[in-house]
Amino acid sequence: MLSEALVWAIFLLPVASFLLIGGVIRPLGPSVAKAAGYVTILALGVGFVLSLWLLRSHAHGVVYDFAPHLWLNLAPGASVQMGLLLDPLTNVMLVVVTGVSLMVQIYSMGYMDGDESFARYYAYMSLFSASMIGLVLASNIVQMYVFWELVGLSSYLLIGFWHDRPSAAAAAKKAFIITRIGDVGFLLAIIFLFFQADDFAAQGLNALHIPDIWTAAAPIAAGGAGIVAGGALLWLCLGLFAGAAGKSGQFPLHTWLPDAMEGPTPVSALIHAATMVAAGVFLVGRFFPVFSESEGAMMVVALIGAFTAVFAATMGLAANDIKRVMAYSTVSQLGYMMAALGIGAYNAALFHLFTHAFFKALLFLGAGSVNHAAGTFNMMYMGGLRKAMPFTYWLTVIGALSLVGIFPLAGFWSKDEILLEAWLGTGAVETSVSLLVFVLLLVGVLLTAFYSFRMVHLTFHGEFRGGGEQELHDCEEAGQPAPTGVSHHVHLGESPWWMVGPMVFLGISAVIAGWVANPIGVKSVFGLIPSHWLTDYFASGLHDGHHAPPFSIAMAVISNVVALAGIGLAVLTYAWPRGFTNTDPLTRGGIIHAVLAQRYYLDHLYEGVIVGRVFYRVVAAVTDWFDRNIVDGIVGLTGWISRNVGSLIALAQNGQVQTYPLVAALGGLVIIVLYLILG
């Protein structure tokens, strides 16, 4: 039996770290700021160990639902309880979160060294880790929402960490608001569940307790309660998916994620690549038993996921900012996961989530390392860094290959499994839908390969194009403000070990994380890892867990060929013309390139047109005008009338003594006449 206290400890350690840094270390001033980093690393290190221990001792097929603690009693059949729900999904998430987080914290010791808000950074990081851990452990949907929002808050704080940069502050706001739009869906789903509280109560269930929701969604025939079904079920799922889409940057709520790269790079690595953005996938995974009861919902999830996978990848083609390329890649990969969930490939999706966390974190940390040297994120000013920073180069290439899905790296296994499931279909959605998803995802593979190696080439190959210094110079000439993250600080050389160390760890993970799952179905790897261990482990968390399909060499070949084709295309485009200087050959794509570079004008549509023009200048302005002139105007008018009617009556008061009895007599006569008329 697992100890509840130890599970709590995983969550409470970063909380304690946050409080310690916020309440003690930061007020003490910069002299002790370093301690913040050690405290955080310690907390997460212990957490990581504990998570591994949990993973080790977690028996298959068991969902640990520790007795919850009452937080807020709402109604019979609906109470908010703070509890721990430990199933394989949670367990793996814990490992990912604490593991990646730990690496990122270590990396940050180098990356953030010398920043004046070092302690604040670690405070936020601790807060984030705590929230994320709380999110994955939550056993109550409101509890989950609480941490969901806190994750959003810490993300906001971290994106806007360098808040004196207007673009950072704006990006933070944008991230928060757009994810909040999705959160409204989540909230409505919760509200909707509360609405059903009476039915839950009748079955002795709690409408807000997650396992009870699973039960409620399952049809009676399948041993469930069948409380939520049909259209209601669809709406519930769509609400939850809206929340997931916001957090995981699914179309059309993806626009915040590239902008979120305004935060420090480790933040991007941890939050906007490995963990928080995966929370959306986690949410759908968490409620997979509910989603799987609604084919409509599944279809929506699958199609939006697959579309996003391709859609984001295309935007990645035209991005020049290395972190933005990563960001689009992240959106795209999250699309893979969503698509996988949508077609019912629960195991594969979570497997991909698992592997993605490592290689994507690695890629981001690599980007950060590059930035450390080149002083810019703009790939147009990089080039030739291969020699200066070999570790970074090779680690990035490993990450890229893993991302593209080249055998035998981690990304290959998980992506391959998704493609295979899509090809074969799981029965969760119509076969035509899963085939469509398959085609889209395959296109995605090609695009992924292209932009990944475009990035590798532009960054590391060719000649060095001047870095941050040159960019600042160009911006000055063009009279534009310099983008954030650009500095004169250019020193071509490898990053410190604080940074390289975690990258090495992640690089190793990016290689072996796929094997950990034992995806081919070898009976046992070194006698430790059973066949299809990870996917089966995931499946064991579900009531009717679906086992991974057997490994298909054909599919592996197809995906690898497509991937290699993409890589080849990139090499052809960027390595062939020896004289590549500053102009991206893709700009020859003309309007298509422009559309891609401008992110399909969606940001413009959202911010410029909908929010700026339609909402702010029209709706809000009209309402404001209405408030000032009509609502308040009526008030003013009433006052004006009462003041001036008084003056008007006073005119009769002309000082002539005889007018007064005249008016009085007239009044008397009027009274008589009124009486005679009205009786």
Binding site: Q656, Q658, T659, A665, L666, L669, I672
Partner: protein, 200 residues
């Protein structure tokens, strides 16, 4: 007094004098003349009192109104040296005329249409009931009814009138009688204080 027709003739004559005099008072541009016309009206009204067997009142009317008030007016007119400036109308003539006309119409309508006798009879009956319950005196209602039917002779009314007035003034109405003295005192003090002006 005389026969009924004679009374009628006198009544009409007095009416013409009174009304013409009144119109003269309010129309005359000459204040002095207005004051004299006013005295004429007072006299005519006194005549009406005599016609209605209220001789005592007529005497009071002549003494106070003609003897005091009219004279006061004439003094006032002379002292303010405003006689020749005259008695011009103000701008309210038309509305004032309309209002007065309407009020007159209402009054005449009331005077003509109201069945005073019936109602007054009912009132007296009720009054006598109150008198009974208050034990102030006993009223023979039947007798009152008989008398009402037959009508009172002139002499009877006259005797009733002549003997009672003074009694009433020092009897039932002794309080207002005393109060009026205070009123006159106040008016005298006030009038004197105001008329006397600044210097003492």
């Amino acid at each position: 007094m005389g026969a009924e027709w004679f009374k009628d003739v006198v009544f009409w004559a007095l009416s013409v004098v009174a009304i013409a005099g009144a119109v003269g008072v309010v129309m005359s541009r000459d204040l002095f003349r207005a004051a004299l016309l006013l005295a004429t009206v007072f006299v005519a009204v006194g005549g009406f009192y005599v016609l209605m067997n209220a001789e005592f009142l007529a005497v009071v009317q002549i003494l106070i109104y003609v003897g005091a008030i009219a004279v006061l007016f004439i003094f006032g007119v002379m002292l303010t040296r405003d006689v020749r400036q005259g008695n011009a109308p103000n701008r309210l003539q038309i509305p004032a005329g309309i209002i007065s006309g309407l009020l007159l119409a209402a009054m005449i309508f009331t005077a003509v249409t109201t069945d005073w006798t019936t109602l007054a009879g009912a009132g007296l009956e009720a009054k006598s009931q109150i008198a009974q319950t208050q034990a102030v005196g006993i009223v023979d209602i039947e007798a009152a009814g008989r008398l009402a039917e037959s009508g009172l002779s002139e002499q009877e009314v006259e005797s009733v009138a002549g003997g009672g007035l003074a009694d009433l003034l020092v009897g039932e109405f002794v309080l207002p009688f005393e109060a009026v003295s205070l009123l006159l005192l106040a008016a005298a003090i006030g009038g004197l204080a105001l008329a006397r002006g600044r210097g003492r």
